[in-house]
Each structure stands twice: as structure tokens, then as C-alpha cells.
Amino acid sequence: MSDLEDQKPAEQSPEPSRRFVLALGAAAASTVVTIRPALAQTAGSVLNCQIPVPAPQAAGSYIDPDGHIVAPGTPGAFPPAPRPLTGEEVKVMLRGGPSPAGIDSQSAQAYANYIRRLQAGMSGFTCYASLQMPR
């Protein structure tokens, strides 16, 4: 979508049949409340939790550059991480910081993409979710 939209006056936009009024609210009022599960109560537990790459049930599988689990030996994909990554390492990695010790930058990028794809129920998800919590 182009930012050329900025140039168009609102009057030229297609008019829906019904118009609703949307109040933007006062600048001081908050419109987002985050419910934090009691996953990790202390900074220490977040930074020390571990994320296996890949999850144990996929042990031995390779990780492609987009973070998908692929068959061992797939060209262009990377071998599993030699050890589970800690929350601290993942936090640094996801922010574009240096790769964890013993892991080259390309593998680290693939692992970071794998971790971003983690969903509830997958090994390491709770650790990843804890890292995402706004503080």
C-alpha cells in the first residue's frame, strides 16, 4: 500500500453506506491493557529459560533460512543448534545482536526465524512468550 494515500483528501475515499463515528480518545487515556500470564515472574527466570532448536520431537532435523523444519541434510538448511539456546541469548539474537557462542550468524538467523514461528504447545514457546512480555 502506498503512502500516496496521505495525499488524498478523505472526501475522495469510497463512502460506505453507513458512517460510524470513531472517537480517538484523550491523549492521556490508554486503550490497550495486556493480560500477562504468570509465565515468568522474574527477569532471571526469563533469561535462564531454554529453547531447543528444533523441538525434541524433531531432533536431528535441519532448519531452513526461513525457520522451517526440514529433513536432515537439506541443501541450504542448517543443522540443529548444538545445545538449547537460553532466553538471554535468544533475546539478544532476536534484536539483531551478536550470535550465541559457537553458532555462526547465518545459522543464528535461521534459528531466530524458527523461534519466531513457535506457537503455544511447542517446546520453547513459553520461554519465547516470556521474552515477548512488555515490561
Partner: protein
Amino acid sequence: MAGPRFTADPPDMMRTVELDGLTALFHLPSGTTHILAPPAPQILAALADGPATAPTILARIRRAFDVEGPRRSGGQRRSGALAVLETRIAELEAAGLVSRL
């Protein structure tokens, strides 16, 4: 001056339930649940059309809504609305639902 461009995860990464004017939103990538009041859900809906600057987000919202923002001195209503919208975007950013490109 274009300003920062904002983006949000695609709608299929979120599950929402309308709750009498509020919206409960479960964000799959982070596993967190948020309660949103307007205009936060509308900002996310506007970003479903693709990354955008704050003025573009406002333009998209204006397609469907008459936007009520605070007036600034001299009746500069649009810039007042934009300023408040930027505050709302910052809240979504702090919650991890919106990020900058």
C-alpha cells in the same frame, strides 16, 4: 516528512472476540491476551492493508469512520486527531502488537 512506517502481524495471527464495545485479542506469536478499546482494533484493521505511516493509517480509518479527535487551537482538527492517533499507535507498539519498519 513521511515519519515512521508501522506494521502489524497479519490478522490470522490474532484471534479476537468482541465484548460489548471492547475487543479481547489473543496474539498467537506472543501468546499474550490484550483487551483493546477503540480505536486500537481499528488501527490494527487499518494495518491489515499493509504497512503504513500514521497519516496513512488515519486516512484508512477515515474511509470507514467519521473520526472525532481533539481540536487544536485554531481549529486544526486533523493534526489534533493525528497526534492522538500517534499516541494510540505507541500503545500498540508497547504491547507488541505493532512494530516499526
